[in-house]
Amino acid sequence: MTGETPASPPGPLLDIAELAKRFTVGSKQGLLARATSFRKPVAPLPQLHAVDEVSFTIGRGETVGLVGESGCGKSTLVRLINRLLDPTSGSIRLGGAELADFKARDFAANPHRARIQMVFQDAGDSLNPRYTAADAIADPVRRLKKMSGAQLKARIAELADMTGLPRELLQRFPHQLSGGQKARVGIARAIAVEPELLILDEPTAALDVSVQVVILQLLQQLKRELGMSYLFVSHDLNVVRLLCDRVLVMYLGKVVEQGPAAEVFADPKHPYTKALISAIPQAEPEQRVGRLRLGGEPRSPIDPDPTVCRFYGRCPKGTPRCAEEMPLLRPAGPARQVACHFA
C-alpha cells in the first residue's frame, strides 16, 4: 500500500465489491452453557445479515444517494466504507487501494484515513460539547495533517470562510451555536483534511427547511470547488433528488435498484422503489401516478433464506417464483440495475 500514489488513477474513486457484514446474534443457550459445552458440537449461532454482498462504484466528483428504510443496512454500509467496522467479506477499493484489509481499530492512524471523511447526522450530538468550534475543526487537521501553530490557525480561518461560518463564532461552544452553524462546523471539520470521499449521513435531518436549503447549496458549492465525491445517505427523497447524480436503493441488506437519480425517480422499476417514491408527500396528490402502500413488516434479517426475495411478503407483486429464487441485480437500461424478476 505504501507505494501507491493517491494521484488519480483511472477508474472509479470507490469500488465496492461483494461487501458483506454479518453480525452474530444471541443464541438460546446462555453464554455459560456455551462456554462449558465443550463436548457437544455447538450449532452455529444465528447471523444477522446487515449488508449482503453489495457491489457498487462511485465516480470522481459524483454524488451518489443511498436510500432505504431504517434497518435496511444503510448505516452499517456507511460504517464499513468509512472503516469504522470490519467487513465479513468483500472489498473496498478507494482509488486503487484496498481498504478492506486494514483493521478498523487501527484505521485512525492509517494514511488513508484522511481520504474518507464523514458528516454526521446531528451536528449537535456529534460535536464535543467541551470543544469550541475552532477546536473541533482543528482536531482532525492536527492529527492527520500534522499542522500546528500559525499554519493551523490560518487553515481553521480558511475552513470557516469556506463553509460560511463567521470567524467570530470560532471561539464558541456548540451550545452557543444555532443548528445551521453547528452543521457548518460539522462540514468544516470533515473537509478540513481534504478528503476525496465525503460521506453525508442525513446532514440536514435536524434542520428547518429554511436552513436546509443553505446547507445543501453549500455542499453543492464545496463539491464543485474541491472536487470531492459524495455518498449521501438520507431518507428524505426530495433532498436526494435535488442533490444526487445517482441513487442506490437498499432493502434488507441488499441493493435492489440503482441508476441515475432522474431516471429512477421518473420511472422506478423495483416494487420497493415504486412504493418509496409513491410515499413522498406531494402537495398536489392528483398528480401522483398510482398510489402504492406497503403492508406488513419487513422480513427478518437473521439467517434469511437465500432463495427467497427479501421483499417477498410485502411486495404487491409477490409470486411463487419470488419464494423460490432470489432475484439478482441485473441491468435494466444503460446505467440501471434492478433486482426483481418482473422489472
Binding site: 427547511v209 429554511s210 426530495n238 435535488l242 402537495a283
Partner: protein
Amino acid sequence: MSAVPALAVEDLSVEFRTRSGVVKVLEHVGFSVDKGETVALVGESGSGKSVTAFAVMGILDAAGKVTSGRAMFGGADLLALNEHDLAEQRGRELSMIFQNPRTALNPIRRVGRQIADVLVRHGGATRNDAPRAAIEMLKKVRIPDPERRAEAYPFELSGGMCQRIMIAIALACRPALLIADEPTTGLDVTTQAVIMDLIGELAGEAGMATIFITHDLALAAEYCDRIVVMHAGHIVEAAPARELFAHPRHPYSAKLLAATPGETVSLADMASIPGGLPDLRRTDLPACRYSGRCERRLDECTQPLPQRTMGERHVVACWNPL
C-alpha cells in the same frame, strides 16, 4: 354556512417565565377546526406550534402561562376548566399523539394494557372486557397478529408499530378532537404514508376534527384541508391547503414554500429565508414579528397587524401581502 366548529381558539396568548425574562411565545393566536376537518399548523421550530397544542390540552410546562384567550370546545372554554374537568375531557373528547412514540409510551407496561388503561379510565370499559377491546383497537390500526402484539413491550416493537399503538390509545375512546404533534417525524417515508393514511381514514370514519402539527409543508398539503402558518408565535396566514400552495399571500409563507424541496424545483432555484426568529424576550417586539426578515416591509408595518381576508377562509396578517 359552517356550523359551530369543533374547536375555536380565540386570541390565545402564552408567556413563559424564564430566568432571562418573559418570553412571549404566543400572541393573539386564533383559528378554528370544524368537525371532520383536518387543519395543519406549520412553521419552523420555535414558531409556537407545539405550545399552541399544549395550551389547548392544558399540559403547558409549569413556566408557561396563558395570559389571554379562549379555546371553545363543545360549549366549554378548555382554558377555564379546572384540572379535574379537563382530565375528564382529555382521553375521551380530546386526545393527542406525541412526536416520539417510544418516549411517550410507558416502557415497562405491555402495550395492550396501556390501551386498556385508557378504555377503563375514560371509555367506561371494565377491567375484564378492556383487554378484548384493546385487541380490537390494535386490529383497527392494522397491527398484524394483534393478540400476540398486545403482550409486547414498546421496546419490542418498531417505531412505526409504536406510533400505531399511540394512535390506538389516542383513538380508543373516539375523541371529537385529535391533536397529532409531528406524528411521523423520524419514521420512514413508507411508514409515514401508511400512518398518515390511517389517521385520515379513522378521522374520516368518526367525523373527528384533527389538528396536525408539522414542519413539512408538502405533507400538510397532501393530508390537510386547511393550513395555518405560524411564525414566531403569530399566525401569519390561514388558507385552504391548495390555495396556500398556489397563491401564498404572506411573504413568509411564500419563502417557506420556496425553501421546501419538491418535484419540480432545482437546488439553484430554491431560496433560504434570510435572518432568524426575533428574540421573543424583547419588550419592544415589532407588531409584525417577521418584519425584520421581510423584503416587502413598508412603513405601515409598525402598526398593529391587520387581518385581511383574501378569499374564502383565507386570512393573512400582513400590510403588504403578495
